[in-house]
């Protein structure tokens, strides 16, 4: 795949001032005042648009497709006009996203075309890299970078952090890969993420640049370490050389990030230092992890990281593929040995008993539902997606919101988790990428390649992407109905 990027120049006040001063590098830094925005407030006055950003929101164990896919397709607003009613019901499982409907595209009917040799994991790899999961013996190898890392390769050099990876459960689990055997581990502690983003080396717009002599010394150390990498790679096999080269690249990028600390901070009006999250998040009385709180805190931090232009790319895993998370949804106990026991999400997708007569009578559960607990868990997860996306929508940028200038690709590890199916794969897109995507609709295809959605997003980001994916997952066409 060849992608050419339209080099978005360093937008913002500082480059404007530099321009005025004949290109001299001056340490002047002022907040981005309204005066510097154009009249409609969608861009800076010098014509540079707000940067486009991208993130992945992942959750494990799929959905129940027959309760996920909305009945009607097309524009939600047009449907309103036709029916004379507001609020087209999205679907039972998506209903809680109603307030975000104009910011989202429900994409259905696309298949992951890369095969499902390993349940769950093959699907995530196929969806996010467009390429099959390579299985060698007992090993699973993600050969190609995930979409977030393809974007980070283009946009990562503009910011302090190339990309951020976060987890909604206490684990370094992540679905972000930079290439073969290079997983980008997640941060799961909001406190640690806060320290990394907003304490160590962070300055608000308008604050003085750092003038710490240690910064230059740290860079000189990294220069030496890069020399060592060059020495080490000699006498190695090709695969090991690739690993050392990858480390070399990371060191060079770290050095560039340290150098950026000596620059002025980016000037973004909405940028502020958020409140510090708690150091520890406690499990509840049943030992269930605080999924709701962790997810919301991560969303706030990531949203502010975007608003402060600390990074332009994230990958967030609410729960792992195959994850057996016990979600904090009440009333899901199963009576076993006289005790009400709570079971994990993955376990339930395979082993949930059918509703009992009591459950049908007392809980109003449909007798023919099957997996009503899984259904409740999926709805809970959709609630977390809503929390997450809303954090980005809450931040104004010009006359719009941060969410308008970005896209979040929401997806999972299977369609029907009981079958580990790859057909009609659950895909949600949030945010319009500054008008590049046609939000506020349900678009349904008839079994097209899911990679086409990813390609539309890459193009919407302004990356001149010729194709996405490899082998059966490769496509050279986006989905024109979701592009503007």
């Amino acid at each position: 795949m060849i992608i050419r990027t339209k080099k978005p120049g360093r937008f913002g006040r500082r480059s404007v001032l530099r321009g005025l001063l004949g290109g001299a590098a001056v340490g002047v830094s002022l907040p981005a005042l309204q005066i510097f925005l154009n009249e409609s407030g969608t861009a800076y006055a010098d014509g540079a648009a707000f940067p486009k950003r991208f993130g992945v929101f992942f959750w494990g164990n799929g959905v129940l497709p027959w309760r996920w896919v909305p009945q009607m397709t097309g524009s939600f607003a047009e449907r309103d006009e036709l029916t004379g009613e507001y609020a087209l019901p999205l679907s039972e499982q998506l209903a809680s996203l109603e307030s975000l409907r104009e910011d989202m595209i429900v994409v259905s009917g696309f298949d992951v075309k890369t095969g499902g040799r390993i349940p769950h994991n093959s699907a995530v790899c196929g969806m996010l890299t467009g390429a099959p999961l390579v299985v060698e013996g007992e090993r699973e190898i993600w050969e190609h970078p995930t979409i977030d890392q393809i974007v980070a390769r283009e946009l990562g050099s503009y910011t302090r952090f190339r990309s951020l990876e976060t987890s909604g459960v206490p684990s370094s689990y992540s679905v972000s890969y930079s290439g073969s055997n290079t997983r980008n581990p997640s941060e799961s502690s909001p406190w640690n993420l806060y320290q990394r983003l907003f304490v160590d080396g962070f300055r608000l717009p308008g604050e003085e640049a750092f003038s710490d002599p240690r910064l230059a010394l740290r860079r000189s150390v990294l220069d030496a370490v890069m020399d060592h990498s060059r020495d080490l790679r000699r006498h190695l096999g090709s695969e090991d050389q690739r690993r050392v080269d990858m480390h070399f690249t990371q060191i060079r990028e770290l050095e560039m990030r340290i150098a950026r600390l000596e620059d002025d901070p980016p000037s973004f009006e909405a940028c502020m230092r958020p409140n510090a999250p708690p150091m520890e998040l406690a499990s509840d009385e049943r030992g269930r992890p605080p999924v709701v709180e962790r997810n919301a805190l991560m969303a706030e931090l990531l949203a502010m990281a975007f608003a402060c232009d600390q990074t332009r790319v994230f990958s967030h895993a609410l729960s792992p593929a195959v994850g057996d998370v016990v979600f904090p949804v009440d009333g899901l106990e199963i009576m076993e040995s006289g005790q009400g026991v709570l079971k994990g999400h993955h376990d339930l997708t395979h082993n949930e008993p059918p509703p009992t007569a009591d459950e049908v009578r007392n809980l109003g559960v449909d007798a023919d539902v099957q997996m009503w607990r899984v259904n409740e868990i999926v709805k809970h997860i959709v609630g977390r997606i809503g929390d997450f996306v809303s954090a980005f929508k809450a931040i104004p940028e010009g006359s719009e919101t941060l969410l308008d200038h970005m896209a979040i690709l929401g997806t999972t590890d299977s369609s029907n988790p009981r079958l580990h199916s790859l057909e009609d794969f659950p895909i949600l897109v949030f945010g319009g990428l500054s008008g590049a995507l046609r939000t506020g609709q349900h678009y349904r295809s008839d079994g097209d390649n899911a990679s086409r959605v990813s390609l539309s997003i890459l193009r919407g980001l302004g990356l001149n992407a010729g194709s996405f994916g490899h082998g059966d997952g490769r496509t050279t066409d986006g989905v024109s109905a979701i592009e503007r």
């Binding site: 013996g137 000189s220 080490l232 049943r286 195959v322 082993n351 009981r418 079958l419």
Partner: protein
């Protein structure tokens, strides 16, 4: 992260057999009937230090310092972090973490409490190149496990001198030299590519020093071992075995054996052990650490104090428990503080490792036991069997229980009746059902939902009817001793054995048998084996596809 990733791990294993089903699934034992092909070593490789190795190295270098809480996570491949260590690289986040760790450690290394350990002279001023060079030469050799070249040394000295000038302090400058040593790929990676000086390609003396110390101690070599490397005694040399014996006799060997079994038995995952506290009043977040310590203390006892047959790990009635575990086992605490020895009576069904909380609670769900998870653990971790993943697009729900069935055995019995499940589930469920007398946290129970528990099953066709019989049956299968041998070999060499290594494995197997299946002789024969000392040339491939996906 066991409670969330249990199934993930379970599904990864055994993919080697693809979708061919589970007939004849157990890998052929290494003891071949025909003579194996001539020895052909695996290709040279680069390994990254695991998190425990990094931390142990720092303690060896600088003494008691506050260690970094977070480093690049290790990845388990073919069941072991040591195998993952030769495949994974260092991520952007990992690079940041290593940088932060380097300064956290280097800052302490130069403080008044720690500097005398490695700064070998009194500096004559803010910049004292001679003193810096003298100290860094020694520290550098230990950190990188080989002598520094003059160029490397000069660069380190210059970094320190430059920093000292800027910051106005000799020790503040040395912090940057130390931070360079610790961030260097020469520290973080182990390049063990060997050389062909005379005869076949084998690891150099310096490479052997670190191979031995990481294998047997899980840390960097000490000065004596590096001196031996410098004298050429770690190559093809009569004194090599003496050095192996010294390492095995050193107290640090306990650290090494603990590290090996921690990987093999997944004991690190006990850090994240989670149970529903409303069902299990014994559950506290510290339970996992206690459970791990029980298993490691028993292993230490068997390996070092008793020099016992490895199979006793399954059959012993001895264990080491603290008050927390004693209360869970329903026995008197053997020690007021910490751990003490306890011997279960002959009548007890709690026997050996399969009676430990570390296995029973970890290989279970938060509320309920899981014969499948426990069965996978026995089949894969203890017997080195492979279990393929379920096929795609097959309904994987457990079929409806038959009317009147109340126990888990009744329910999972349906696995074994459905032909699409049975092929593989018969590899795990019959083993795990033998442990159904232990609930999800490992407490004994006679009944489930009022019904007596039936703990019968079979191991490769050999029947058992109680948990203790299961333990004895597992211990008696040849796969059980084969498996620890193979796992130790993979752990030592960092790779899953290749066909060319059959001869060396056969030799190690024979020695292990003749030693009466004792662990220290096993580690010794691995250290002395061709497979550990020789290496193939690095593999050079010509890659036709460009590495870049995106060209700006």
């Amino acid at each position: 992260m066991s409670w969330i990733l249990r199934w993930g791990a379970a599904l990864i294993l055994g993919a080697s057999l693809g979708l061919v089903g589970c007939e004849g699934e157990i890998e052929a034992p290494t003891v071949a009937t025909r003579p194996p092909p001539p020895f052909e070593p695996a290709p040279a490789q680069l390994r990254r230090l695991t998190q425990p190795q990094y931390r142990n190295a720092i303690t060896d270098l600088f003494g008691e310092v506050v260690l970094p809480a977070r480093l690049e996570p290790d990845e388990r491949v073919d069941g072991l972090y040591q195998v993952g260590a030769h495949l994974t690289t260092i991520s952007a986040r990992g690079t940041e973490l290593y940088e932060a760790a380097a300064y956290q450690i280097a800052g302490q290394a130069v403080d008044e409490a720690h500097r005398d350990r490695w700064i070998l002279c009194a500096p004559s001023g803010v910049v004292d190149r001679a003193c810096a060079e003298q100290s860094l030469r020694v520290l550098g050799r230990r950190t990188w496990r080989r002598p520094l070249s003059e160029v490397e040394l000069a660069q380190l000295v210059e970094i320190g001198a430059n920093a000292a000038r800027r910051l106005g302090d000799f020790y503040a400058g040395m912090e940057f030299s130390v931070a360079t040593l610790l961030q260097s790929p020469h520290f973080l990676f182990r390049r063990e590519v060997g050389a062909e000086t005379d005869g076949p390609r084998r690891h150099t003396g310096w490479e052997m020093a670190e191979r031995l110390s990481f294998f047997l101690w899980n840390t960097i070599p000490d000065d004596a071992l590096l001196d031996a490397a410098a004298r050429g005694e770690l190559g093809d040399h009569p004194r090599y075995a003496e050095h192996v014996d010294r390492l095995l006799a050193d107290p640090r060997a306990k650290q090494g054996v603990r590290a090996f079994f921690t990987e093999m038995l997944e004991l690190d995952e006990l850090d994240e052990l989670r149970k529903d506290p409303t069902i299990f009043e014994h559950y506290t977040p510290e339970l996992g650490a206690s459970a791990r310590e029980e298993t490691l203390r028993l292993i230490e006892h068997l390996v070092f104090e008793r020099d016992a047959d490895y199979r006793e790990l399954m059959t012993t009635r001895t264990t080491f428990i603290d008050r927390r575990l004693a209360s869970l086992y329903g026995v008197p605490a053997p020690a007021r503080e910490g751990f003490g020895r306890y011997d279960f009576p002959e009548s007890s069904e709690r026997v050996g490792l399969l009676g430990h909380i570390s296995v029973l609670a970890l290989q279970a769900h938060a509320s309920v036991s899981s014969p499948t998870l426990r069965g996978i653990f026995v089949r894969r971790n203890l017997l080195c069997g492979a279990i393929p993943p379920p096929p795609a697009n097959v309904d994987t729900s457990i079929p409806e229980p038959l009317p009147g069935s109340v126990t888990l055995r009744d329910r999972v019995a349906r696995h074994l009746q459905d032909p699409s499940c049975a092929g593989c589930h018969r590899l795990m469920d019959p083993l795990g059902l033998g442990l159904e007398n232990f609930d999800a946290i490992g407490r004994w129970r006679d009944t489930e939902s009022g019904e007596p528990i039936d703990a019968s099953g079979d191991v490769n066709g050999i029947p058992f009817s109680t948990p203790s019989e299961l333990a004895y049956t597992v211990a008696a299968t040849p796969d059980f001793t084969q498996c620890v041998m193979r796992t130790a070999y993979r752990y030592a060499t960092g790779h899953k054995e290749v066909p060319g290594e059959a001869a060396t494995l056969r030799d190690i197997t024979g020695r292990f048998e003749r030693s009466g299946f004792r662990v220290l002789p096993l580690l010794r024969s691995i250290a002395l084996s061709d497979g550990f000392r020789r290496v193939g040339a690095p593999v050079i491939t010509v890659d036709s596809t460009p590495s870049g996906e995106v060209s700006p």
